[in-house]
């Protein structure tokens, strides 16, 4: 079975622009979470979606938004990009039962210049 997939792999944007990142969960997984990992740090939780509803939100500004589609894939949108948004954006999926394990995709590396 394919793991979590993310696209694009790399992205370079200019300050002020907007970006959309995409994630496809493992087949059968209905929960998707997004994390931001700045170089040298652990991943920071941004959002969690389950059955198209937001189930959790981390401490990120309103420039960050996300949604989940009927096929459980998800998009993360970031508006008005800042230099500090440069990071590896990770998507994780799970079966969403008590104590379910989360599996991560390879990430999208975003560089803001």
């Amino acid at each position: 079975d394919a793991g979590v997939t993310q696209s694009p792999t790399h992205l370079i944007k200019t300050r002020g622009q907007q970006v959309t990142l995409r994630c496809s969960p493992i087949s059968g997984h209905k929960s998707v979470s997004w994390y931001q990992q700045v170089l040298g740090q652990g991943p920071q939780f941004i959002f969690q979606y389950y059955e198209k509803e937001e189930r959790g939100r981390g401490n990120f500004p309103d420039r960050f938004s996300a949604r989940q589609f009927p096929n459980y894939s998800s998009e993360l949108n970031v508006n008005a990009l800042l230099l500090g948004d440069s990071a590896l954006y990770l998507c994780a999926s799970s079966l969403m039962h008590q104590g379910a394990e989360q599996y991560f995709g390879p990430g999208t590396r975003l560089t803001v210049t």
């Binding site: 979590v4 652990g42 991943p43 969690q48 389950y50 189930r55 969403m96 394990e101 590396r109």
Partner: protein, 113 residues
Amino acid sequence: QKEVEQDPGPLSVPEGAIVSLNCTYSNSAFQYFMWYRQYSRKGPELLMYTYSSGNKEDGRFTAQVDKSSKYISLFIRDSQPSDSATYLCAMREPNFGNEKLTFGTGTRLTIIP
């Protein structure tokens, strides 16, 4: 103070040595504890997953959780050069519907042949 503290290293050990990696945490509500391995510029890979206190062994890897001390450990026996990576501890509360993981900063490990 961060919720999860992890020594960032770097840690270098000779091939065949036993490696000990540790995290401490302050949130007593954490019940699920994970160790992820992350190779450079890749997504985190789930290595070990434990619930509450106790030990869990999988091949050369042993995870220990001491909730009374708010301390978790990962031991790697007979370390191999392929074990060279960043090791992230992660933990979460037992809230069904909210799968937020809180990560440590990661420990960068190098196994010297």
